[in-house]
């Protein structure tokens, strides 16, 4: 794979829900080790775009290429098996299950000879992972409903980083977090970048966007307003692109 090859290539993506056009003619290339921030007001279509890439929605038209090959994900699990992980805005955690079962949801580890669940190993690996990422929870056996919003988000991100091999999509990962927790998540995202993963992040915090991203892509009411290199733009310009007020 050449350094120049795109991990993800979206071309002329269009998505309508019945009569409502949620995404109009969207194109974006994403390289390994690159962080692109997706910004825009509520209802701009950011979450919809993420769900298109992760296979939850099928675009009405347009093409999605992964590593230069046409990809059409029929559902979320085929995107996952291609190394794409998502941290959803509305956390996709099962609240009454323990942390370690959530970490391995849908990909539970089993042990021979009967193929029964290997709970010890899942517990241990989950614990190692949350320790490594410094997500502070009582234990990997804690039930999700016993955790705070920040801890839950930590679990969701830890799960995505554990399984992603190409691309991580983050939908407002720090919206529910306090200052210290946000800083930790940002460190985490920096680390992912060093691991050469491609990252698409939605955030309402422009400070955060400018700290983390290489490029910024602006959406307004489903329309792609433009893509800017973070180093060559400033907040005022991005704000006027988001709002449409010069």
């Amino acid at each position: 794979m050449t350094a120049e090859q795109n991990v993800l290539s979206l071309t002329n993506i269009h998505k309508a829900f019945g009569g409502v056009v949620a995404i109009q003619d969207f194109s974006l290339d994403l390289k390994a080790g690159e962080v692109v921030a997706l910004v825009g007001d509520n209802g701009a279509g950011k979450s919809t775009l993420i769900k298109i890439v992760s296979g939850v929605y099928t675009p009405t038209s347009g093409s999605i290429e992964l590593d230069g090959e046409e990809a059409s994900f029929s559902d979320a699990s085929s995107a996952r098996s291609n190394g794409i992980e998502v941290v959803y805005q509305d956390l996709a955690l099962a609240d009454q299950q323990p942390v370690f079962m959530n970490m391995f949801l849908g990909r539970e580890l089993t042990k021979p000879p009967f193929g029964l669940l290997d709970k010890d190993r899942m517990r241990r690996e989950s614990q190692e992972l949350v320790d490594e990422l410094d997500v502070r929870i009582p234990s990997a056996s804690s039930t999700i409903s016993q955790l705070s919003g920040g801890q839950r988000q930590g679990i969701a991100i830890a799960r995505a980083t554990h399984w992603a091999s190409k691309l991580i999509l983050l939908d407002e990962p720090t919206a529910a977090l306090g200052v210290a927790e946000t800083a930790r998540v940002e460190d985490l995202i920096e680390n992912l970048k060093k691991k050469n993963l491609a990252i698409l992040i939605i955030s309402h915090s422009l400070d955060q966007v400018f700290r983390l991203s290489d490029r910024i892509c602006v959406l307004r009411r489903g329309q792609q307003i433009g893509i800017r290199e973070t180093a060559k733009t400033d907040k005022n310009k991005i704000v006027s692109m988001i709002t449409g007020v010069a």
Binding site: A92, A94, L105, G106, R107, T110, G115
Partner: protein, 317 residues
Amino acid sequence: MTRVTSRLNGLDFQQAVVYFGFLAIFLFFAVTLYDDGFLTQRNLTNIVLQTAPATIMAVGLVFALSAGEIDLSFGSIVAVSALSCAVILQDYPLPLGVAVGLGVGMGIGAFNGVLIAYLKLPSFLVTLATMGLFAGIARSMTDLRSIPVMNDTFTGIFGSGKLFSVPSLVIWTVIGVAVGHLIYRHTRFGAHVLATGDNPRAAQVSGIKVPRVRLYVMMICGGCAGLAGLLYAGRLQAAKYTLGESDLMTVIAAVIVGGTALNGGKGSVIGALLGSLLMGMLNNGLILMNLKVSDQMIVRGLIILVAVALSLRDSNR
């Protein structure tokens, strides 16, 4: 932190209800009904034998409830399965009768399951309808007649027989609960059932085939009801449309008291066993007390109400 510990206490409390309830009722009857022979080995064994079919139904229901579904039709499935099996056994050998009995149960479960999982109809309404539908079919199958079961091997295996002096109904109870518990707690399928009932969206985006899980839990529920039907037919040496008719409330209560959540994501097969034994003890004790049938129903209803209220105390916060 105090919030966390109080939550943990709440959980413990919920799980403990069935153990305490079990002990409390056992002790109460042991003292008050000592002279009536409640504590005799014969009577205690009888309780286990009589609850065997309900326990098997309860195991199936744990799966349906944990996946966020409900089955109200299992009582009717019991009757249809038992009757089908009995009719077959009149002319054909045992394996065919057993296969038909279990197959009918799973088949009806699959019918429920397809409507729920793929046509996305609510399980409450689907199984409310099939409960009536199959109760009617059970009545019309044999014109309300009872069908005797003469096959001694069958009545031995599914009824009065013993293996190493352990009654076969006890063995079925142990097998049913052990296998159910193993699948529920220690397989990927069990984990998927819990995830589906807990948060179907999370399950789905995690690659779990949610509709298939829903179909399978309804089939398990139907299959367990089918087995319960065979156990009734074996013990009573006959099948009748009334079999399973009165089990709906008892089995649901047993499962809820045993710590299974009505709205999915949480449950216990062992708890369901204890819940079922608790209900059996209650029946037995109230009969030994010489209460009129009407009074038995009233007392049982009230006790179930209290038990269910206690075991749901924490979850309706």
